[in-house]
């Protein structure tokens, strides 16, 4: 009975995506002509969905529709949605290129690696939430960890502070990537977009007796164009473990 909705105007997003995906190619192409489903193609399709519509739109049905397949077909190549999340994070991590450690530029190298990871996260909005379901110590994650560790150790940082600082940097990169989704295109409860000028105005509207500093320093609170805050925080994390002079 819900299939009736195909001929009507409103249709579910999954079915809509399936219709879009079925546009190319002959309409009734023999099924076997389609290249077989693999875990790699599932991950690629999932990443495309996230890139175009965000992590909230990532659905098993949505991925299956993008692959012109049935939802159940995915489970022959992927155990869970959690495993799909894991594979996506692994793919993202594998794209990060690690430099050969240069003791003179260790800090810049470390920041660059973190920036690569941040850009991958930002390219696929909200995908950092997949790390909550992903394995904490996968091989791809450990690879970046190893690379960063090599950079810091080459810079003369002792192993334990280096490991802890890298851990903190990873967690910050993730949190920054999720939070920055709504930093500039901030949404009101009514759905109105709030830019920085309006944000300052709002902070200034606070009662000055209970929020004196916030009212007084609203510009500093909302400052930080681009990724200035990101670089600032990573600078703090890496500056604190600097061995001698940088």
């Amino acid at each position: 009975m819900t299939d009736r909705s195909v001929s009507r105007g409103i249709v579910s997003r999954d079915r809509w995506a399936a219709q879009i995906a079925a546009l190319d190619g002959t309409p009734s192409a023999p099924r076997s002509r389609r290249e077989p489903i693999t875990a790699g193609r599932i991950v690629d399709a999932a990443l495309q969905v996230v890139e175009a519509e965000g992590f909230d739109a990532l659905t098993m049905r949505r991925v299956a529709a993008a692959l012109q397949a049935s939802p159940g077909a995915l489970y022959a190549h992927v155990r869970d949605k959690a495993e799909l999340d894991d594979l996506m994070i692994g793919e993202l991590c594998s794209r990060v290129t690690l430099p050969v450690p240069d003791p003179a530029r260790w800090k810049a190298q470390a920041i660059d690696v973190c920036r690569q990871l941040r850009d991958q996260y930002l390219r696929y909005p909200g995908i950092w939430r997949a790390t909550l379901a992903a394995a904490p110590h996968s091989l791809d994650t450990l690879r970046i960890n190893e690379g960063l560790l090599a950079i810091l150790l080459a810079g003369g940082v002792p192993p334990q502070p280096a490991a802890w600082a890298i851990d903190a940097a990873f967690q910050y990169v993730g949190a920054y990537s999720v939070m920055s989704l709504r930093r500039h295109p901030d949404q009101d409860t009514d759905g109105r977009v709030v830019d920085r000028a309006e944000l300052i105005e709002r902070l200034r509207m606070l009662p000055a007796d209970r929020f004196p500093i916030t009212v007084a320093h609203a510009p500093e609170l909302t400052s930080g164009e681009g990724h200035a805050r990101f670089d600032f925080t990573l600078g703090l994390l890496l500056e604190g473990v600097t061995p001698d002079t940088s």
Copy 2:
């Protein structure tokens, strides 16, 4: 037809919780004797659910069952589950007590405030995910921000670095709270619990040619009892903005 399952052995968790909640009091108490539902009672019940069973178990039906009410009844006092998330975070933030700034102890005071927030997050496992649905600048959040800002400014930190460091600290506290859920009781893909000794063993099993540093420094990588890493990272964030001598 699914109602048949009440008399059988297996029953859904929500229904089970409703049965448990119905144990006390007269079985067929007149409905009006129950104290009315308010937003505050909903938030309290939701927090109890999260404290006992984790954020994943937080369901509108589950909260309604704990209140011995119908799921739809909640929507008269709470617009969304997102608004419920917002209210829970607000409640948690309101429990954080802010000290009067003492310029001599500004760093310890700042760390203490962050620790309070961390302990609230850790008390309700996974609840930090509610901040993803919550308003980014609620009054309760701004209150803590104001308090921390007062502490740092009293310590002589310039406004902009103070604001940015506080922001970074907040994001780290959240990420730390979510991640630490599976830090010590780490789960294998098979569900086996992995303690630190086994974690070291696993890191040592890595191929030494591709992970030389990880293999060599496995103990340092897994070290950090209790909240040592937490204190370490906050120390880095606050040390970097220290005005002169601490």
